[in-house]
């Protein structure tokens, strides 16, 4: 259950494609990349606390997302990234209705702080500051169907990448995601005790990623394998056979594969594809899903 959370805001963008908040790429000044990503993810098991279970009244849960995104090079060392995903959720069993709509508007600034070129390799360090906010009045307190966690998020990420001139690279990143409060439509809820308010505190989270990848075909093709971890710093567990809520302590560990291909080097049309699978988690649907995307990069000024 819980789907929304994860890929909400930063979550999804992490694995997806070039010039994202998490990767080791920068757009040169004046270049713009427009991308559209389609993602389809499912789960038929979810973690109630840490207990992995099924639910006959959910069956298989599905989440589809269409996300337009724009990345622009303000300078060679500073990029801005904006995105606005449209999300649709449904379940194969049970009587609860799915929902759809715009999720969170995300804006992010990425800066390259270090670029150290050595004889056969280079080292790069980036920082990324992101902000996302709900883009529609979706109800976060309708899990697992809700589109997202319904709160603002301020994220700060550090990224380091070591790359050999021959193509292989290793990248690591770590982020702290500070989440605000979300408003439910009920004015009482239980979180290991009573809360006489509609305001729910969405837990902050640490998010880390390790990626091993390489460039091929004269830097027209990039392939990487990723390990992504997310850990909420607080929150409660889903209660027995009960629905999740935005206050839950969400955790997951996910592996993924990603490929991006540019028709020609240095711009123009590109394609990307990825697949992710969660192998451990807490208060979260065990998602597996793929994404496909189209990117177009051009010199704007």
């Amino acid at each position: 259950m819980f789907l929304g959370l994860l890929f909400a805001s930063l979550g999804l963008m992490q694995l997806t494609y070039a010039q994202t908040p998490t990767d080791g790429l920068m757009m040169p000044k004046g270049e713009i990349c427009i991308a559209v990503i389609y993602e389809d993810a499912n789960w038929d098991h979810y973690w109630e606390g840490t207990y992995l279970r099924t639910n006959g009244n959910i069956g298989t849960f599905n989440r589809k997302m269409l996300m337009p995104m724009i990345v622009g090079g303000i300078t060679d060392k500073i990029n801005v990234i904006v995105s606005l995903p449209y999300v649709k959720t449904s379940a194969s069993a049970g009587q609860l209705t799915g929902v759809e709509g715009f999720q969170d508007f995300g804006i992010s600034l990425k800066a390259q702080l270090v670029e150290k070129t050595m004889e056969k390799s280079k080292l790069m360090v980036f920082s990324n500051l992101s902000f996302s906010t709900p883009a529609s009045n979706y109800l976060s307190d309708y899990m697992p169907f809700s589109l997202g966690f319904g709160a603002n998020e301020l994220g700060l990420r550090a990224i380091g990448q070591y790359e050999l001139n021959k193509g292989p690279y290793l990248r690591g990143s770590i982020a702290y995601l500070h989440r605000g409060a979300t408003e439910a439509e009920r004015d009482y809820y239980y979180q290991d005790g009573s809360y006489y308010t509609a305001t729910m505190d969405v837990p902050d989270a640490w998010n880390a990623q390790l990626a091993l990848g390489s460039w091929f075909l004269d830097k027209k093709l990039r392939v990487e394998a990723t390990l992504t971890l997310l850990n909420s710093t607080s929150g409660d567990d889903i209660r027995a056979y009960n629905a999740p809520q935005p206050t839950n302590k969400v955790e997951y560990d996910q592996v993924g594969g990603f490929a991006q291909y540019y028709l020609k080097k240095g711009g123009g049309l590109g394609f990307l594809a990825y697949y992710n699978h969660m192998f451990s988690g807490r208060n979260m649907g065990q998602f597996s899903g793929y994404g496909l995307g189209l990117t177009y990069q051009f010199k704007a000024f």
């Binding site: 006959g56 009244n57 069956g59 300078t75 060392k77 500073i78 069993a93 049970g94 009587q95 609860l96 209705t97 799915g98 600034l109 800066a111 702080l113 920082s127 500051l129 009045n137 109800l139 307190d141 309708y142 301020l154 994220g155 700060l156 702290y176 500070h178 605000g180 409060a181 439910a184 439509e185 009920r186 004015d187 009482y188 809820y189 239980y190 005790g193 009573s194 809360y195 006489y196 308010t197 305001t199 505190d201 209660r239 027995a240 056979y241 009960n242 629905a243």
Partner: protein, 513 residues
């Protein structure tokens, strides 16, 4: 430019890591001890509910004012007050001089804690909680709305009879409070001049502990600790000496016994029937009307929730048939189709406001349920009107008797007609609220709410319009949510109002007004 942006990043980093901007969210009703609008000194003569007379519980005559024994107690009180820890002082401001509010809040929190429906076993069967072995999985109780409504009625009635008894002896013995007897003792609350023997706070602490321990057996220790803290706070607050507290405990213990004796034989233990009995109830409805409700969950639950709750002993209604709702429209009839189409329309075009109403009143699993919701309104209203403890108890007793009577009458109607839910009758219908495990007609939310509104309107006529609006909104919330037809809601409102009127009629004869 580049450099400046780097500084900006640094600044925001610091903000992001240090800036926690969440304020503390309220976890209880925000109120403090207050001056009572009226001491209700004659309340010892009000009509009791469980007890036959205001001296059915006998307490010893207190030590006289000026006696060595009482002076010693006052001395002990002063020592305790002087040595009070921060923790104990916090406890004094938590419990207040109208602690029934706090115990009601505790009752609601336990209701939420235990309001989890048992999930299926690996083989698709369901195990129900076992009162004989409460700690087995799933834990006892499953605090569903009928359970909560009945629990609140026993709690409130026991508190009420206990407080009437306490008021009677306060008047009879006339022993002033410690802060009146000794100028060195200061009341932590308003100096309202209420006589202190026997302690009304102790009556509330003990009746509450006893009733709630019986209703939530796994919480016995927790409740005992709360009661001890509460009892201790009475002396530290300067409103009671130890003998006041001891006499209050005596009353509380005896009244709780009386209430629990009624509870043991009110029919609740037979409410959750085995499958053959449940099937025979279903078949009877099918023979009579040609329709039947079936649970739509996967795996299917073999028995609905408490099919015989409608047979539980009522408090103020002479018999359940007098408030049974009329026959609902036959599925497929024109009248039925009109209301079914309305549900489809809401499902397709629910407005923001309708969604909000559906969710605000959802009060489903993992909540205090509609009975709890109305108890919350009652608490807020009592504090606003600065009622004395005994008058507070009166409001809760009559309201909660009406609420549980409403539940009983609603459940009688539900299983008499055994009417299918919209997800059963409308092909492919999906909802934003979970459909409960019992028949549709009449709506529990509507019946509970309308009964509660009727009683609250009697006690607080200035707010009557507001209570009625809330009940109407609670009723419609189920229609917006897709789990009730309009006729379930409308008949439920009528039924609840009729039930509430019995409780009001009884309250009118209790000599309190």
């Amino acid at each position: 430019m580049k450099i400046q942006l780097r500084y900006l990043f640094l600044l925001v980093t610091i903000l992001a890591f240090t800036g926690s901007c969440m304020e503390d969210l309220p976890s209880q009703l925000e109120y403090e001890g207050y001056e009572f609008a009226d001491l209700d000194e004659g309340a010892g003569e009000w009509k009791l509910i469980l007890m036959s007379g205001n001296e059915e519980v006998v307490i010893p005559a207190p030590a006289a004012v000026g006696s060595a024994a009482l002076n010693q107690e006052l001395q002990d009180s002063k020592t305790k007050i002087a040595n009070a820890t921060d923790e104990q002082r916090k406890s004094v401001s938590y419990w207040t001089n109208n602690p029934l509010i706090r115990w009601n809040e505790i009752a609601l929190e336990l209701s939420v804690k235990y309001n989890l429906i048992p999930g299926p076993n690996a083989d698709g069967t369901y195990t129900l909680p076992n009162p004989a072995d409460p700690s087995a999985t799933p834990n006892f109780p499953f605090a569903h709305p009928p359970y909560i409504s009945r629990m609140l009625a026993y709690l409130s009635v026991a508190q009420y009879d206990g407080l009437i008894t306490s008021w009677h002896y306060k008047e009879k013995f006339g022993r002033p409070a410690p802060y009146v007897l000794d100028p060195q003792i200061v009341s932590a609350y308003a100096d309202n001049g209420l006589n202190s023997y026997p302690s009304d706070g102790a009556v509330v602490a003990i009746t509450s502990r006893e009733i709630l321990s019986a209703m939530f057996p796994l919480e016995k220790e927790y409740l005992s600790k709360l009661a001890d803290e509460h009892l201790e706070s009475l002396v530290i607050a300067g409103i009671n000496v130890t003998s006041d507290v001891e006499a209050g405990k005596l009353i509380g213990t005896e009244v709780a016994k009386k209430a629990l004796a009624r509870a043991a034989n009110d029919g609740m233990k037979n409410a959750q029937t085995p499958k053959p009995k449940s099937d025979s109830i279903k078949n009877a409805a099918f023979q009579r009307f040609g329709w039947q409700w079936d649970n739509q969950e996967t795996p299917q639950r073999p028995v609905g929730l408490t099919p015989l709750f409608g047979k539980v002993k009522m408090w103020n209604v002479p018999n359940v048939e007098v408030v049974r709702a009329p026959v609902p429209p036959t599925p497929g009839s024109e009248e039925f189709n009109k209301d079914a189409q309305e549900l489809q329309r809401y499902a397709d075009n629910l407005t923001q406001d309708q969604r909000r109403i559906a969710n605000f009143w959802n009060d489903g699993l993992n909540t205090y349920s509609p009975p709890g919701h109305w108890n919350r309104f009652a608490k807020e209203t009592v504090v606003k009107n600065r009622l004395s403890p005994v008058r507070t108890a009166r409001v809760f007793a009559y309201m909660n008797m009406a609420i549980v009577d409403a539940g009983i009458s609603c459940w009688d109607t539900k299983y008499y007609y055994h009417y299918p839910r919209p997800i059963q009758t409308i092909p492919g219908f999906k909802t934003i609220l979970g459909t409960p495990n019992f028949p549709a007609y009449t709506s529990g939310h509507s019946t509970f709410s309308s009964a509660a509104a009727e009683v609250l309107s009697h006690f607080f006529p200035a707010d009557a319009a507001k209570f009625k609006n809330w009940a109407d909104e609670a009723a419609m919330s189920r229609v917006y949510g897709g789990i009730h037809y309009r006729f379930d809601a409308e008949e439920g409102l009528k039924q609840g109002k009729a039930v509430g009127a019995y409780s009001v009629a009884k309250a009118q004869l209790d000599q309190a007004d």
